[in-house]
């Protein structure tokens, strides 16, 4: 046993370790998912649908748009058509598998764009304050005061349904909410001493916003992202249901539910299977968000 001189920072053999070791913080987000069973389950569901979408050509037993006349007599699930076939005799399983693609492309893509816009607006409003903040906040409030679904319907109905238009609609509908969240977070953080330290070091505003502030907002933003993904999947489903989704014959979960509603009493599987697909994906995102929230609060 050696005896450290006074002035030595640490004992040669620490009696205890630091609560968090360096490794612990490194991949904090993944770690946090790992610590919560809820989050793990949610992530599993999401990954399942991602894999399904990715390998759709391999997994789907049939062409999703091919009509199979031999199922004419019995469209209910069978050995050839596991999930049965729809009113136009197309294989349901293949359509569900292919239908995962547009949702999982449109929802994240449009949300990422919304976040770029929302984060920019929110940070600028909070950081600069004054009239910029007042104007932006009013605009955001105005946009948030519309019922979301009405906003979607009006937007899509006026420009016509297409993948691109859905993306634009999602951006317009989601970014005000994100901007408000980011504004709140930034407002809290901008009075931090490390921001003042950056200012007196002569850092530019862009540096302060992007390097000093943004990284500290990633936790709540990621939770928000997951919840918002759920909502967006719902919205895309609803648009499809209202006939404002992807134009036919593209397999679209929301559209499939709508097609099935007329036959709901006779052939319930046509509506219920895509509905279940939608809700399982949403559940995945919600569980992930819940789990992350839990670990944030516990930490």
């Amino acid at each position: 046993m050696t005896f450290p001189e006074p002035g030595h920072q640490r004992p040669a053999k620490p009696l205890v370790q630091h609560r968090r070791t360096a490794k612990f913080r490194g991949k904090s987000l993944l770690r946090r998912v790992g610590r919560s069973r809820t989050a793990c389950f949610g992530l599993g569901l999401i990954l399942f649908w991602c894999l399904v979408a990715l390998f759709a050509p391999i997994l789907a037993p049939f062409d999703p748009n091919a009509q199979h006349m031999w199922s004419l007599t019995d469209p209910t699930p069978s050995l050839t058509h596991w999930f049965g076939s729809d009113a136009l005799h197309r294989d349901m399983l293949s359509r569900i598998i292919w239908g995962a693609r547009p949702v999982l492309v449109i929802a994240p893509l449009s949300l990422l764009c919304s976040y770029v816009i929302g984060i920019t607006l929110g940070m600028v409003a909070a950081y600069y304050g004054g009239w910029i903040d007042s104007v932006l906040t009013r605009v955001i409030d105005l946009m948030l005061s519309f019922p979301k679904i009405v906003l979607y319907v009006v937007l899509i109905a006026s420009v016509g349904p297409s993948a691109m238009n859905i993306v634009i609609a999602v951006i317009l509908v989601s970014s005000p909410g994100i901007a408000r969240l980011v504004r709140g977070l930034t407002y809290d953080l901008k009075t931090s001493d490390y921001v003042a330290a950056a200012r007196i070091r002569g850092e530019s505003d862009l540096y302060i916003l992007a390097i000093e502030l943004l990284p500290n907002e990633r936790g709540p933003l990621f939770v928000d992202f997951c919840t918002r993904m759920g909502y967006t999947v719902i919205s895309i489903g609803v648009l499809g249901f209202l006939g404002l989704g992807l134009p036919p014959p593209h397999p679209d979960w929301g559209g499939m539910v709508r097609d099935g509603t007329t036959l709901l009493t006779v052939l319930p599987h046509i509506a219920l299977i895509p509905a279940f697909a939608i809700s399982s994906l949403i559940m995945g995102f919600n569980l992930l968000a819940d789990g992350l929230q839990e670990t944030t609060e516990a930490a």
Binding site: P11, G202, N216
Partner: protein, 696 residues
């Protein structure tokens, strides 16, 4: 007393553990202590030593993660450890009450003061409404709240911090408890308010004869209130005995270490140095097998101290106990440690000059029909000059505009009027974004809150790298790396810290990084805004030493903003005392700490909790609460609370500056001759042996 008073509370080998996600942590390891009826027992130690855990264990409030792993707590012959919830409720509040640090959290924000206090009586004694009302008002009066009737009708958010703590004290005493546990009851308060609360507690104790357990990290406070003291380290009591004995003749190296961290009031850093205890309190995973202080102890000897854990043994006739293998061999060192290296600056070159700097904030309601503005006068006509290498202490209560002045000088805020001259250039109208690289490099800041000073997303290496890139001299990557290494060395941080983020560092380590960041470009001026007020005793001293050595290395001038006069006495060459945005007195430390005083300085000095028994302190308190910066009239800002108010003139005419000596300025209406006649606040105790003077 001849007969030993019976114990009201006895704790026998108490063992408390907290569950963490990676195993148990031992918070209290075999503590035994007895509280005699009517005494005040002080528990002192750094944070993480288990002081508060003992308090919570007595109340059986350990929470979900805490658990009593062994030992007994007996209160008035009744064991508290195995009571039913109902029996426990009967004891909590009515027989044992607790006062916490955070008064805001202890009061229900939706109830008025009367309702909350009435509730206590309703639960613990069955009085009728009118009697309850009377007793509440009487108690509010007893705790010194002005206008009890009006206060009783208020909600907690309408009261100041000191008033809230008074209400909490009233609440505790209403139930007439036998034992009162106080967990750092004044830590969140201003020095002047702290002194008043302590006075109140002492008075309530004599009136009610309540036994008290006083938990604090402040040895000066402990000396002021408690009869006996227990010094805790790493979950154990390492020394125990009568307060005066322990503080004047500490036996345990830890107690000695704590005491050598406390600045003396009669000399500054040029006379002696403070000694910090190396290292930090460790979290115990299991009961220690050997002396747990050994790693930090400068007296530790291999072969002696790494044996079995030492037992508490009697160390003197006065009933002192000490837990150390070598206590009898250790000399009680009363001499002050030598001062640190001090390079005297030969020539005086001004770094910063402030000429009549004022800062006014306007609060404007958003939708006002008429332009109603509230003016907040954060700074009024501040004149200052600071030379190279000089240390200026800026003291005053919170909310007096000290930090605003710092921000104005930094360029984070623009002054409303006046001139700021930095290194010969007028920068008063140049906000930080427009200053030259040279100006930015030359003025830096160290902040108060170690939790918010470092960006939690960045590693120490990144933070210092950025500071060196923006402020340092190096232009190449390798040179920058060398510069970072040198900075780390200067603030005595091990190299592996470079890869850690703020969350993995202790408060003291974070503050070290903050100091390194500020001194990265060898600035001409550093403003330190209460850099040590959130830190533990020994860490505080280490940071002070660090600031001083960093300052000496680059001959930097330092503005040290603090509410702690003791620290300022130690670190500063000159002191400026601020009250409501105005500098009321400025001079060298020796001038400010001796008569003539500005009345406010006098009050501040007399509220300072002292550790030194050789000094006697005159008691002087002011009236009322700190006014807000918005509402004071044309006269002296201190007029409303001044204990030496002379009359109308104080309220109506702004006081002139009087030159009380070379570079010593006081802003007061009282003639200088009269101020000179004021007796000093501190006197050596031997000059007034037994004299009971009203003023003392």
């Amino acid at each position: 007393m001849n007969m030993p008073a019976p114990n009201i509370l006895s704790i026998e080998s108490l063992d408390v553990r907290y569950r963490a996600h990676d195993g148990d942590i031992v918070a209290v390891a075999g503590v035994s202590l007895n509280l005699k009826r009517g005494e005040c027992y002080g528990l002192v130690g750094e944070s993480g030593c288990g002081k508060s855990t003992i308090a919570l264990a007595i109340m059986q409030y350990l929470g979900n993660r805490g658990r009593l792993a062994g030992g007994t707590i007996v209160f008035e012959g009744q064991s508290l450890t195995n009571l039913t919830p109902k029996a426990l409720r009967a004891i909590r509040g009515s027989r044992i009450a607790m006062i916490y640090q955070d008064a805001t959290g202890a009061l229900n924000p939706t109830l008025t003061v009367r309702q909350q206090l009435g509730e206590v009586l309703k639960v613990h004694s069955a009085n009728d409404r009118e009697t309850r009302r009377q007793r509440v008002l009487a108690m509010l009066d007893a705790v010194g709240l002005p206008d009890p009737k009006a206060t009783a009708a208020r909600f907690p958010h309408q009261l100041s911090g000191g008033q809230k703590q008074r209400v909490v004290i009233a609440m505790a005493f209403l139930a007439a408890p036998d034992l009162l546990i106080l967990d750092e009851p004044t830590t969140a308060l201003d020095v002047t308010v702290e002194a008043e609360i302590i006075d109140l507690l002492r008075q309530m104790r004599t009136e009610h004869g309540t036994t008290m357990l006083f938990v604090s990290h402040n040895l000066g406070l402990i000396r002021r209130v408690s009869d006996r003291v227990g010094v805790m380290y790493a979950g154990r009591i390492v020394e125990e005995g009568p307060t005066d004995q322990i503080i004047d003749f500490p036996r345990h190296p830890y107690t000695q270490g704590l005491l050598s961290c406390v600045p003396r009031i009669n000399a500054g850093r040029r006379v002696y140095g403070l000694r910090s205890i190396p290292g930090q309190v460790q979290r115990l995973r299991a009961l220690p097998k050997r002396c747990s202080f050994m790693e930090r102890c400068s007296f530790a000897r291999p072969g002696v101290c790494d044996g079995l854990s030492p037992e508490l043994t009697s160390s003197g006739p006065a009933g002192t106990l000490v837990r150390c293998h070598r206590w009898s061999e250790i000399e009680v060192d009363h001499s002050l440690p030598p001062p640190g290296d001090e390079t005297a600056t030969e020539s005086y070159t001004p770094v910063l000059q402030l000429k009549g700097v004022s800062k006014t904030f306007y609060l404007r309601p958003l939708f006002a029909f008429r332009r109603q503005e509230t003016q907040i006068l954060a700074n009024r006509y501040v004149d200052l000059e600071l030379g190279r290498g000089e240390v200026l202490g800026l003291v005053g209560e919170s909310g007096c505009g000290k930090s605003t002045l710092g921000h104005v000088v930094m360029g984070l805020e623009r002054p409303s009027s006046g001139q700021i001259i930095l290194l010969g250039k007028d920068v008063s109208d140049v906000p930080i974004g427009q200053r030259t690289a040279e100006q930015i490099r030359n003025i830096q800041m160290v902040f108060q809150n170690p939790d918010r000073t470092l960006n939690p997303s960045h590693t120490v290496g990144f933070i210092l790298g950025r500071a060196v890139r923006k402020l340092g001299k190096s232009r190449t990557h390798a040179a920058r790396k060398a510069e970072i290494a040198e900075l780390m060395d200067r603030v005595r941080l091990p190299e592996e810290t470079l890869h850690m983020t703020a969350g993995q560092l202790s408060g003291g380590q974070r503050q070290r990084v903050a100091v390194a960041r500020a001194f990265a470009g060898s600035p001409a001026l550093v403003i330190a805004d209460e850099p040590t007020s959130a830190l533990d005793t020994s860490v505080k001293t280490a940071i002070l030493e660090l600031l001083l050595s960093a300052r000496a290395a680059s001959d930097t001038a330092l503005i040290f903003i603090s509410h702690d006069l003791g620290v300022v006495r130690y670190i500063a060459d000159r002191v400026a005392v601020m009250y409501l945005g105005q500098i009321v007195e400025i001079g060298t430390v020796d001038q400010v700490f001796a008569p003539p005083y500005h009345p406010y300085t006098e009050v501040l000095l007399s509220t300072l909790p002292l550790v030194d028994s050789m000094l006697e302190q005159r008691r002087l308190r002011m009236q009322g609460e700190l006014q807000s910066l918005s509402a004071h009239g044309a006269g002296c800002p201190f007029a409303g609370r001044c204990p030496r108010r002379i009359g109308e003139v104080c309220d109506t005419v702004p006081p002139e500056q009087i030159a009380a000596g070379p570079n010593h300025v006081i802003r007061c209406h009282i003639p200088l001759a009269e101020l000179r006649d004021v007796p000093p606040v501190f006197r050596s105790a031997q000059y007034v042996p037994d004299e009971k003077d009203d003023r003392w």
